[in-house]
């Protein structure tokens, strides 16, 4: 699939948000309307100062996404995923770097915005509360220049895609949290633009609708010829549907490739998940084949402990791991070994982030 010219091409993109403006006494200044020029005067008169450092949200991001691809972006909160998506959507101007989206230079944001659909994390702010879900979606189509007949038909299809046909007659103010999120998704599916940008689209969806949503993104949208960039903090969502993914950290791309390629850095390791009951913390350090241990206590009367062990791929590794856990007493109720997932990859990166910070 990764052949031909990229549909989205970014080269050396960086973004720095300016620092917040504070008065000398440390209060934040909010500026509205005519006060804007007063602020400039105030700054000239040294009544205010710029606080702290500007925030560097993206550093030298170079990326190509090909037509028909589902491309995933993963990384911790604050790693710059939203910033990157906003730049692609033409909503944010990069500080440096160049790029092209659907054949249009990044500088021509107005044209780009007509070729992308965008679901933002806080998108429900943009819904009109007094109107029904159906009206919200349909009027959006009309505003974008659809004929009434087409808007009606597409709205029905989009509401169907997100499983909201019956509840579509309710006013947005009467919808539950997850339903509101699905209205936003339906709105983004309406125009069938060449590019669809989804920033954490499955937040708040129940497991069934979440699976449907991911299926839709992974299968239906590519079939319609749409190219998708999807951001999700749950890496497993990306792993299931994205052909390729990028891992972001501190504003940089630290890896791009198919999920299998990305996981190569963890080759030779596997994950052992255990649940134990009773028993104390083992007194010794974990034996050699065990590289990392994460454990959590479950509330409740049963006294269960959940273990997430990263171990070397060796014949004696499992027994060593079990033996070590059992050395604290108690019994093991569940054992499951599996190859590492993208989520484990993200977790594996966390420690050196803390060292850096």
């Amino acid at each position: 699939m990764t052949v031909g010219a990229p549909l989205i091409r970014l080269t050396g993109i960086s973004k720095t948000y300016p620092a917040a403006e504070l008065s000398l006494r440390g209060t934040k200044l909010v500026t509205q309307g005519p006060a804007l020029w007063a602020k400039q005067l105030a700054r000239a008169a040294r009544l205010t100062a710029v606080s702290g450092e500007p925030v560097r949200a993206l550093t030298d991001v170079t990326l190509a996404v090909y037509p028909g691809e589902v491309f995933g972006l993963i990384g911790p909160n604050g790693s710059g995923k939203t910033t990157l998506v906003k730049i692609v959507a033409g909503l944010l101007r990069p500080s440096t770097g160049t790029g092209e989206v659907a054949g249009v230079d990044l500088a021509q944001a107005a044209i780009i915005r007509r070729r992308v659909s965008y679901v933002s994390t806080t998108g429900w702010m943009g819904l009109e509360w007094a109107l029904t879900a159906e009206e919200n979606v349909r009027f959006f189509g009309l505003l974008c220049g659809m004929s009434p007949a087409l808007a009606r038909q597409r709205t029905l299809a989009a509401l169907g895609d997100v499983g909201l046909v019956a509840d579509g007659r309710k006013a947005v103010s009467e919808l539950s949290n997850g339903m509101r999120q699905r209205v936003i998704l339906a709105r983004a599916l309406l125009l069938r633009t060449p590019i669809v940008l989804l920033d954490e689209p499955t937040v708040g969806l129940d497991p069934v609708h979440r699976r449907q949503m991911l299926e839709l993104v992974g299968e239906t949208l590519p079939k319609r010829g749409q190219t998708v960039i999807i951001v999700d903090h749950q890496a497993d969502a990306i792993e299931g549907i994205a052909r390729r993914a990028a891992i972001m950290k501190d504003g940089r791309l630290v890896g791009v490739g198919t999920p299998a390629e990305l996981l190569e850095s963890l080759s030779g390791l596997k994950v052992v998940e255990l649940i134990s009951r009773g028993g104390a913390q083992p007194e010794t350090l974990p034996p050699r084949p065990v590289r990392a241990v994460e454990q959590v206590l479950r509330p409740g009367p049963l006294g269960l402990t959940q273990w997430h062990l990263t171990v070397e791929e060796r014949p004696d590794a499992l027994e060593a791991a079990l033996g070590w856990v059992l050395s604290g007493g108690g019994e093991i109720l569940q054992v499951a070994e599996h190859a590492p997932h993208l989520a484990d990859l993200l977790a594996a990166q966390a420690p050196d982030e803390q060292e850096a910070g």
Partner: protein, 306 residues
């Protein structure tokens, strides 16, 4: 922590009232911080007060010499004194009347309201808390209008009846706050969450602006409108304060139609009217507001999140 209820009460034997007071103080501090953060706007605010006062000064120049004839015998001879009383009081009345609704709406939209309700304070405390803003915003305004009026534009006041004047002001503010509460209650009671709230619009935008006699004495209006003017607190407090504070004003000459009808002295009429309004509107405001919250609790319109 398991016995936090009794512990909390044990720790704070001063009781509910003191806690409410501390809560109000917290509101005031918060409003102050927010006010500070919009400080550059305070410059605009100052300019705005100056321009308004200047405008009436210029009008005052126009009517110079004819002022006594225009504003009638009761309110003295100085148009600037006449007008400054109205501008200064209007600010307060406007706040008490309009702010409850606006602040309730804002706290509903940013989601603070339901959290305020989910706490040990009474349902009315947030309302009072939001009003602490007026102390920050209005009291300085009063002083500034007064100062501009007196030092720049030649307004003159008598201060020998200042206590009575303060009493009238307090009554009018209470009555206006009652109307404000009624207006705020419609946010939940009538579910008016967008657009113009009718109570506020009718009393403040229509009646108070046109009929209360802020810029001219009510006597210039046709008789039926003069009677309508007698329905709102603004009319009485303007009348009373002008009589008490403006130079050359007379305490005994009736101006308002109701003063001409009733056998009492005009100031007594003002006092009775304002007291009656306070006694009716303030409790009514509280009751309606409480009912509004209860209705929202039934209809599920109290919170915006789902």
């Amino acid at each position: 922590m398991a016995s936090s209820v009794s512990e909390q009460q044990g720790r704070h034997p001063e009781g509910a009232l003191v806690r409410e007071a501390r809560t109000l103080w917290a509101f005031a501090v918060r409003e102050y911080r927010i006010w500070q953060s919009y400080r550059v706007n305070q410059l605009m605010w100052l300019v705005n007060i100056f321009v308004t006062t200047l405008l009436f000064f210029l009008m005052g120049l126009m009517v110079k010499g004819k002022a006594a004839a225009l504003i009638g015998g009761a309110y003295g001879t100085n148009y600037m004194s006449f007008i400054v009383v109205a501008i200064a009081l209007s600010t307060f009345l406007y706040t008490n009347l309009s702010d409850p609704y606006t602040r309730i709406a804002r706290s509903y939209y940013n989601g603070t309201m339901d959290l305020l309700l989910l706490s040990p304070m009474s349902i009315f405390t947030p309302l009072f808390g939001f009003m602490t803003k007026s102390i920050l915003d209005d009291y300085p305004r009063l002083l500034i209008v007064g100062a501009f009026g007196v030092f720049l534009f030649g307004a003159v006041f008598r201060f020998q009846h200042i206590l009575a004047a303060l009493g009238f002001t307090a009554l009018a503010l209470a009555a206006a706050f009652g109307i404000g509460m009624i207006s705020a209650s419609s946010f939940y009671l009538l579910n008016i969450k967008r657009g113009t709230e009718p109570v506020r619009f009718i009393v403040q935008q229509l009646l108070a602006t046109l009929l209360a006699g802020a810029y001219y004495p009510v006597t210039v209006l046709p008789k039926p409108l003069q009677w309508i003017a007698c329905l709102i607190p603004h009319t009485y407090v303007f009348d009373a304060l002008r009589r008490l504070m403006d130079p050359g004003a007379r305490l005994t000459v009736p101006v308002l139609p109701i003063q001409q009808v009733l056998p009492w002295s005009p100031l007594v009429v003002d006092a009775v009217a304002l007291s009656a309004m306070t006694l009716i509107l303030l409790p009514l405001g509280f009751v309606l507001y409480g009912q509004g919250i209860e209705k929202a609790r039934r209809n599920g319109t109290l919170t915006r999140w789902q």
